[in-house]
Structure formats: structure tokens, C-alpha cells
């Protein structure tokens, strides 16, 4: 068995080193989005099931002709990919098995700043042998970031509240976006970590100038999302941002920054 995997690995490696990958499978929501944007025609065979969810994925309507996988080894094998795109911390078992079977797996880190998010665009472009397109996209995104309104001398305090009472603190992409959009983050002021719990009482006590809630279009409710509409928050200025823009780093993070900057002024 081991020699078979060895041969497969050698074959896959030699192909990968030379040619443009022709059969790409993405098993992670975030690599799904970048791959959909940067793949050559017919290059991307399959994306994860989450890419279809309009509440999570800004590319949910651009998946025509692309199959859906559930990030399971058995979903990936029949597609005989020559490149598998994955997230560093998701579906790790699947990645490990695929790598052992000789598939070429590229795992992307979770970006913790806008710069890293743009670097991720470039690395996926490179992996898909479409670097010029990625470079052009990043160039355009940098121009849009540069065109954001100037930072105010005294940035308004904003509290980000996500379902399940979670907020985003320093060391997250969202926190970086928030600062570039000209806000000061309540989570940072409270000394919370990257993904801290933010009780409603604390939000209200600090009177943020804006309450930023992530909202997704979902067919049925959950208590976690219903809590974001709590009556106690009704007196606050509320900025709703689509949850599809906040989950992953990439071009959509720039959309998020633009929306937040616009809502501030």
C-alpha cells in the first residue's frame, strides 16, 4: 500500500511542479471563495458545501458547473485532483489523509490582517497558476483601501456582536478592518482576546457609538441570531453587515471596510 502511495505522491509532485493544476478541489469555505474568483475556466472542480450558503459565502451565486464536497476524503478521491486547497485549521484529518495518499495539498493560514488577506489572494493565484490575475486584483484592492476616508482623530467606539455573544478583538482580520474603517474597537478597550465573549450588559454599559452586528440570510431562525435583536440594544445605533463578508479574508474584506467607513460618515 505504502509503495502505491509513494508512486502516486511522486507522480502528483512531478505534475504539480511543472504544469498548471488542471483539477483543483477546495475543501474550505475561505479557499473556496478565492479559488472561485481566481480559477481558470474548468480548473476548479469542486468547492465545499458551505460555499453554497448565502449567509456565509459571497460567491454562493457563482458556482455553476462546480461540484460540492463535504471536506471528506471520499468526496475528494473520485475527482482525482492535482491540487487540493484547504484551511490550516479545518478538516485537518482530511488534509492529513489526502497528503499521505500523495495528493498535493496547500493549506492557507487564517489571515489576521488586511495585508495577510491580500497575501492570501496572491498565494491562491500562484497555486492556480494565475498570478497575474491575483496581482491585478490585489492592486485594485490596495487602491480601494487607499481611497478609504481618512481616519478620524477620535475614532468612534464600536462594539462588534456576532451570534452566540462573541466579539472580535485584536489579532483578527475584522479588528484590522474596523480600524482601517475608522473605528475604535470595544473589545480592544476591554482587553479581550481575538474571539472573546461580550455580554450584552457590558455592551450597554460602555455606550458604543455604533453596534456592528453580523447578519445572515437564513431560512430558519436560531436563538444565537435572535439574541442580536434583543430589546435592550434597540437604543443603539446599529450597523448590520452581511455575515458573508466577515467570515473569510480576501476581496470581500475590502467591501466590508468600505461599508463600515461609509456607515461612519
Amino acid at each position: 500500500m505504502r509503495w502505491l502511495a509513494g508512486i502516486a505522491f511522486a507522480l502528483a509532485a512531478s505534475f504539480a511542479a511543472e504544469a498548471r493544476p488542471a483539477r483543483v478541489v477546495s475543501i474550505n469555505l475561505c479557499t473556496d471563495q478565492l479559488a472561485v474568483l481566481l480559477a481558470h475556466p474548468n480548473q476548479l472542480l469542486s468547492v465545499s458545501w458551505l460555499a453554497r450558503d448565502r449567509a456565509l459565502s459571497p460567491v454562493h451565486d457563482r458556482l455553476a458547473g462546480i461540484a460540492i464536497n463535504h471536506a471528506q476524503v471520499e468526496d475528494v478521491l473520485p475527482l482525482r485532483p492535482d491540487l487540493v486547497l484547504a484551511g490550516r485549521f479545518a478538516a485537518r484529518q482530511t488534509q492529513a489523509v489526502l497528503a499521505r495518499l500523495g495528493f498535493r495539498v496547500i493549506a492557507l493560514d487564517i489571515p489576521t490582517s488586511l495585508d495577510q488577506a491580500l497575501a492570501a489572494v496572491e498565494s491562491v493565484g500562484r497555486a492556480l497558476d494565475n498570478f497575474p490575475a491575483a496581482e491585478a486584483l490585489v492592486h485594485d484592492l490596495r487602491a480601494r483601501l487607499a481611497a478609504l476616508p481618512p481616519l478620524p482623530p477620535d475614532p468612534p467606539l464600536a462594539a462588534v456582536l456576532e451570534p452566540r455573544g462573541v466579539t472580535v478583538g485584536p489579532g483578527t482580520l475584522f479588528d484590522d478592518v474596523l480600524r482601517r474603517a475608522g473605528y475604535s474597537n470595544l473589545a480592544a478597550r476591554l482587553g479581550l482576546g481575538a474571539y472573546g465573549e461580550l455580554p450584552l450588559e457590558i455592551v450597554i454599559k460602555h455606550r458604543p457609538a455604533a453596534l456592528i452586528v453580523t447578519a445572515g440570510e437564513r431560512p430558519v431562525p436560531s436563538l444565537a441570531e435572535a439574541a442580536l435583536a434583543h430589546g435592550a440594544l434597540s437604543g443603539m445605533r446599529r450597523i448590520e453587515v452581511p455575515s458573508a463578508l466577515t467570515g473569510c479574508g480576501g476581496p470581500f474584506s475590502v467591501d466590508l471596510a468600505e461599508r463600515l467607513a461609509r456607515a461612519r460618515s
Partner: protein, 325 residues
């Protein structure tokens, strides 16, 4: 006199509960929040977060204590309790179906109705079983089965939901929580709960007569069918509506009547009001305690009541082991 003392205690604890929460406000600010301008953070925290929570804790606890006392008197079984016999479990299932299907978004009353239907179903099941002269053991085993089934179906319904957050909410429904409840929940649940208390209170005379046995109760003019109907209906309203907005909180209906029974001379009809007040006190005290947990997400209130109640239950089983042989 005792009732006055108990009511004073309830009121005092309610005031204490307004002082306790994550924001850690000093009492002076709480007072200003209660009396002053409604836009201040303290006012919003006290009026919109803590007050509805306190009211729900009291009402839900009162319903659990009262329903426990009535069920125990009716079945002449000290272990009959909304949680143990499966009333809370099926109520949670009914509420889960009403909420995650999206029905309660279209029609707000669907939520308490779902909880009440589930609770009524379980209560009827218990009475049908008990009606055939079931032993204590039969009743408890039936409760185990109903609870397992309700728990499994709740987990199934949440797993099948297309909303990815649903699955994380199983703890809310199985263990209960009063965290971040709002006035909307009070207005949805309080009216049916209050009707439920009134219905349960009508069982007083019947429960008193029943201590002499069913035949004697009948000869005293007690309509046993009606008595049972009142117990089922009252339990469904008082417990089902509460579970629909706060999940299943266990063991309150077991511990409270048991502790208070000696104080009222073991007369089931005299146990109702004390059990309601005791249930309110215990539930609010437990809720105050979970507010003090953290940092991190609050402990579920049902975890605490189970930590108190389950050893209690075991103790009762050990004491009565001989009698049930």
C-alpha cells in the same frame, strides 16, 4: 404569617437579583436606573435585561414548585416532578419544533403553544400510566423513557436544522437558561403561566380528599376525572410556557415540595402555595448564582439545579429503598 415571611424573602431576593450581573454596577446606579431617565446605560441594563430575567425566574420557579406539589399529591408519589416524569423534556421538544421551524417568527404564540402541547402530552402519558395503579418504579421508568425520547428528538430536530447555530443550542433546551431573556418572553409566557397557577390551585380540595384514598375522595364528591384534567392542564400551562422561553430546568419541583412538606404537616393541599413560593426562591437563587459564574459563557441554570437536585433524588431513593422493594 409564614406566607408573609416567604413573600418578603421573595421580594428581597428579587431586589438582590437586580444588583447582580456582568456589568457590576454599584447599587446607587441601579437605583438611578430603576427610577431615573430611561436612556442611561444603568436604566437599560436594569429594566431591559435584569428585570425581565428576574420576573421569569420567579414565575418559572413558582410554576415548577406548584406543578411538582400537585403531581406528587395527585399521584401520591414523592418523586413525581415535571422534569423526572418528562413534562419539561417534551415541552422543550414542542418549543424546539415551534421555534426552529420558523413558525414562531410568523406567529409569536406558536412558541409557548409548542411548549404547552409537549408538556400536556407528557402529563397525559403520566396520568394514563398512573391510572393503572402504577408503582413508583413504573412511573420513574416511564419518565426515563419519555425523557430519553424527548432528548433524542430534540437533538435530532436541532441537527436537522439548516441553521448552523441550532446545534449549539441543545444545551439551552436541555439545561435551561434565563440569560438575555427579554420582555417579549415575559409577555409570551407569563399569561399562560398565571392561568396555569390558577388551574393548579383549584386542585387543593381534591388533593386533600385524595389523601384518604380514591374511593373516599369520590364519596366526598370529588370528581377525579376533573381533578386529573386540572392537574394536566395546569401543569401544561405553568411548566410548558416557561420551558418554551427558558428551556428545561430540572429538579426544582422535586426538591422544594419535599423540603417544605414537613412544615405543613404533610397535607398536600397546604403544600401548594409554599411550594410555589419556594420554587420561585430556589430558581431565582440559582439564577443569581449562575450570573456570578464566568468569565466565559454563563453556566446553564439547569446544571446548578441538577447539582442540587440529583443528589437529593438519590438520597430519597436510598431512604425509600425498603418500601419499594
Amino acid at each position: 404569617m409564614r406566607t408573609v415571611i416567604a413573600l418578603t424573602l421573595v421580594l428581597a431576593l428579587a431586589l438582590v437579583s437586580l444588583l447582580v450581573g456582568r456589568a457590576g454596577l454599584p447599587p446607587t446606579e441601579i437605583w438611578q436606573g430603576l427610577t431615573g431617565d430611561g436612556d442611561m446605560p444603568a436604566a437599560v441594563i436594569v429594566r431591559e435585561l435584569r428585570l425581565p430575567r428576574t420576573i421569569l425566574a420567579l414565575a418559572i420557579g413558582a410554576g415548577l414548585g406548584l406543578a411538582g406539589a400537585v403531581l406528587q399529591g395527585l399521584l401520591r408519589n414523592p418523586l413525581a416532578e415535571p422534569g423526572i416524569v418528562g413534562v419539561s423534556g417534551l415541552a422543550a421538544l414542542g418549543a424546539v419544533i415551534a421555534f426552529y421551524s420558523g413558525w414562531s417568527q410568523a406567529f409569536a404564540l406558536a412558541l409557548p403553544l409548542g411548549g404547552m402541547l409537549g408538556a400536556a402530552l407528557a402529563a397525559i402519558l403520566v396520568l394514563v400510566l398512573a391510572g393503572r395503579a402504577a408503582s413508583v418504579v413504573t412511573l420513574i421508568l416511564a419518565g426515563v423513557a419519555v425523557n430519553s425520547l424527548a432528548g433524542a428528538l430534540t437533538a435530532l430536530a436541532l441537527s436537522l436544522s439548516p441553521n448552523p447555530f441550532a446545534l449549539y443550542e441543545i444545551m439551552f433546551w436541555l439545561m435551561g437558561s434565563l440569560s438575555d431573556r427579554e420582555w417579549r418572553h415575559v409577555w409570551l409566557a407569563l399569561p399562560p403561566m398565571a392561568i396555569g397557577w390558577a388551574v393548579l390551585a383549584t386542585t387543593r380540595r381534591g388533593l386533600a380528599a385524595l389523601t384518604l384514598g380514591e374511593a373516599s375522595a369520590r364519596s366526598l364528591g370529588i370528581d377525579l376525572g376533573r381533578l386529573k384534567l386540572a392537574a394536566v392542564l395546569g401543569t401544561a400551562l405553568a411548566v410548558g410556557a416557561g420551558v418554551a422561553v427558558a428551556g428545561a430546568i430540572g429538579f426544582v419541583g422535586l426538591v422544594v415540595p419535599h423540603l417544605l412538606r414537613p412544615l405543613v404537616g404533610h397535607r398536600p393541599e397546604a403544600l401548594l402555595l409554599p411550594s410555589a413560593l419556594g420554587g420561585a426562591l430556589l430558581t431565582l437563587a440559582a439564577d443569581i448564582a449562575v450570573r456570578l459564574t464566568g468569565p466565559g459563557p454563563e453556566l446553564r441554570i439547569g446544571v446548578l439545579t441538577a447539582l442540587i437536585g440529583a443528589p437529593f433524588f438519590l438520597l430519597m431513593v436510598l431512604r425509600r429503598r425498603e418500601a419499594w422493594r
